[in-house]
Symmetry: C2
Subunit: 416 residues, 2 copies
């Protein structure tokens, strides 16, 4: 089964926005065992969209057209695809009610063009839009390419894809087989190194399959099994997971798609009721801001310090001037004192510290990318670890934060 | 002149990475007055790349092929394009010397496949790679489409595009005309609203042209003039800029491509020698982390506070418990006290504070997105501003930070 993705929109064509919809849909289809062989981008232009559709239906079994479902005169996608397939457009009753209600509630008049968003191609399956007004469409055709029409705004596309499209495609294309996925999350190993260690499994396995994805210093591995029942699939995934763990289990930190390192760490701390503070120098608040992304973090995080200047390290948390004078700010001793003192001031169970050379310039004779992370935990000796990153200021700061989170995770008592 | 972009790479096709090269090149071509009409993506597959090239050369004047120039057996781009154009591949002497030197210096043996990176299509113009090994290529053909072949890694592509491609395309396509661009940066107005206010200029102007781009709550406007001399162009840009300023000058904060709001603010503070601290609640360090992105910020930023819990607001910076009890943490009074107290503790010229409801849940009976920003400046009465954002936690935190920067900028004495 070959799929093709057509993104419609002048703003993508001219590079004003990245085509993140294409990568999202390509990954989503891959998870269903459907491979994308071509992608196209065309502007908001009827004849060129029509040409793109003609080309796609000749070489692909499923054509996904994204964007151009809105109410303006630039939005042509449904009209062009309907005419191309020699079908009419009909109004989806549920969608038209939703649009009417929206205008009533916001006390504005509904225009004729607003109705256009409720149209779908006759004979197709209308797809409701959980976060917007424009309905999508799935047209299944015997002996000819199928069409999937989706809205352009990424929030709408993603919501519709996960809630409407995935079940429908499973039902249409995978009636006999169940598909079961499991996501393993790794930190501390690069994507290339992970792929190397699993090379034979990745290239030889057909069921379950393995695929790696990298993002922000984390790597995820998706295992996907298909079979007659979920039980069979789970058993296959269990077996493969054991093989993976035997090779790279040391770097595994969690499971699931929406479960980043920071979420895993904060959830563990909340569960164990361990409070946390931080004293940050080169990261300048990025660690605390990152844990601030997790809803509910206030249960274990009272606040903390950005001690950017040497004097602030002494004034705000009481790092001894003598320590800084003897060892410098980028040192094991200063990192340890910062972690310990921050914890003492705010009386938390854990204190973490970051001091180093963000770059691009060197500092105290130490090259950009030199970072010390200190960790002080109740009833444990304070520790500090040294890292050597690159000369990229923003990257160094992000990598410091990720390594700090990993250090905390590895220092927590094992979960029962 | 119509251009077309073909990205080659299975990792893009399957959505493992976003096709950011396409948007980068499309913007770069637009700056040269060259419009992109089509984009394609194909995998590392010879026949499908050949088909994509055939299609593109029939409908476009310039075909940009990106990716697949490396040394592995998957890298086929130059071979396919050369065969398609019935040309041979020849070795670039400078590139081969560079590759040899690289292997000598890293004490490794050069393989036969490494030589492939030095090949270019005969009759073409080899493009040197400032940050990598693979040479690019520009093939100018009378009466037929031109080809531009670029490396896939974004760092290499961007460096080659700006240092090699832009001058070459200017020379080839714009021999008579000079092209001059000017970027105006806005905050506090959305892209749609800006476009609406400049609608007639954007749609009617052909020289200079105007184009808007939006990113992270900032909007930039690029004015591009072409003419017989830079002086003529600058005069045209001056005239258009005056028209733009008359309509939306209130929102203009700076000029230039790499000059974000935070950079403008920090540069102004460094120049005026005004020191800054912050007390952050909902933003949890994001403001301080954002100013930490700017090299040299240490000259005016000693450090600051993340006062997440109410008790930390009192303990760390001395916000009176009575203020919080009487008004709540999300209030004008608390925002003002936080800004003032943070400034007093660290004896800076400016103190800024952020307190509010990040979301997704409401707090103290106030809906998610309610934010107070306080600002205390030497010799000026402390102020606070209220904002109402959305229910998106991360977006609210980022918008609070951007509005805080804007508030500081608008409160600084006018530059002479």
């Amino acid at each position: 089964m070959q799929a093709e993705i057509i993104a419609v929109g002048t703003e993508i064509l001219l590079g004003q926005i990245d085509n993140t919809n294409a990568s999202y849909v390509a990954r989503g289809l891959a998870d269903l065992g459907i491979s994308v062989f071509h992608q196209q981008v065309v502007g908001d232009n009827g004849p060129r969209l029509d040409d793109a559709v003609s080309l796609a239906e000749q070489r692909s079994d499923l054509v996904v057209v994204m964007g151009g479902l809105g109410p303006t005169k630039d939005d042509l996608t449904k009209q062009i695809v309907a005419r191309h397939l020699d079908r009419t457009l009909v109004e989806d009753e549920i969608a038209i009610k939703k649009i009417k209600l929206h205008y009533q509630q916001s006390d504005r008049l509904m225009g004729d063009s607003d109705r256009l968003q409720a149209l779908y191609i006759s004979g197709g399956h209308p797809l409701s839009n959980p976060t917007g007004m424009a309905v999508g469409d799935f047209i299944h055709q015997e002996n000819w390419a199928d069409f999937l029409v989706l809205p352009g705004p990424p929030r709408e596309l993603m919501a519709m894809f996960s809630s409407e499209v995935v079940p429908l495609l499973k039902q249409t294309y995978l009636q006999l087989d169940h598909l079961t996925s499991r996501v393993l999350r790794f930190f501390g190993i690069g994507e290339a190194a992970l792929a190397r260690k699993l090379d034979d499994l990745i290239s030889e396995q057909t069921n379950p399959t393995l695929a790696t994805y990298a993002k922000d210093a984390e790597v995820t591995l998706r295992l996907t099994a298909s079979g007659p029942s979920i039980q069979t699939n789970e058993a296959r995934l269990d077996e493969l997971e054991q093989q993976v763990k035997a090779r790279v289990g040391d770097f595994l930190y969690g499971y699931g798609d929406d479960n980043s390192l920071v979420e895993v760490v904060i959830k563990r701390l909340i569960k164990a009721n361990l409070t946390l503070t931080a004293a940050e120098s080169l990261t300048a608040g990025l660690f605390q801001s990152t844990i601030g992304e997790v809803p509910g973090v206030s249960a274990i995080f009272p606040g903390g310090f950005v001690t950017y200047a040497a004097a602030a390290k002494t004034q705000l948390i009481g790092v001894p001037q003598a320590t800084i004078a003897a060892h410098g700010v980028v040192s094991e001793a200063t990192a340890k004192a910062m972690a310990q003192q921050a914890r003492h001031v705010l009386k938390t169970d854990i204190g973490i510290s970051f001091t180093g050379v963000a770059g691009p310039e060197a500092l105290e004779g130490q090259p950009a990318g030199t970072v010390w992370i200190g960790l002080s935990m109740l009833n444990q000796p304070v520790i500090a670890r040294e890292f050597h990153f690159s000369d990229d200021r923003q990257l160094n700061r992000r990598r410091a934060v990720m390594n700090g989170l990993n250090l905390i995770l590895r220092s927590l008592p094992t979960e029962k």
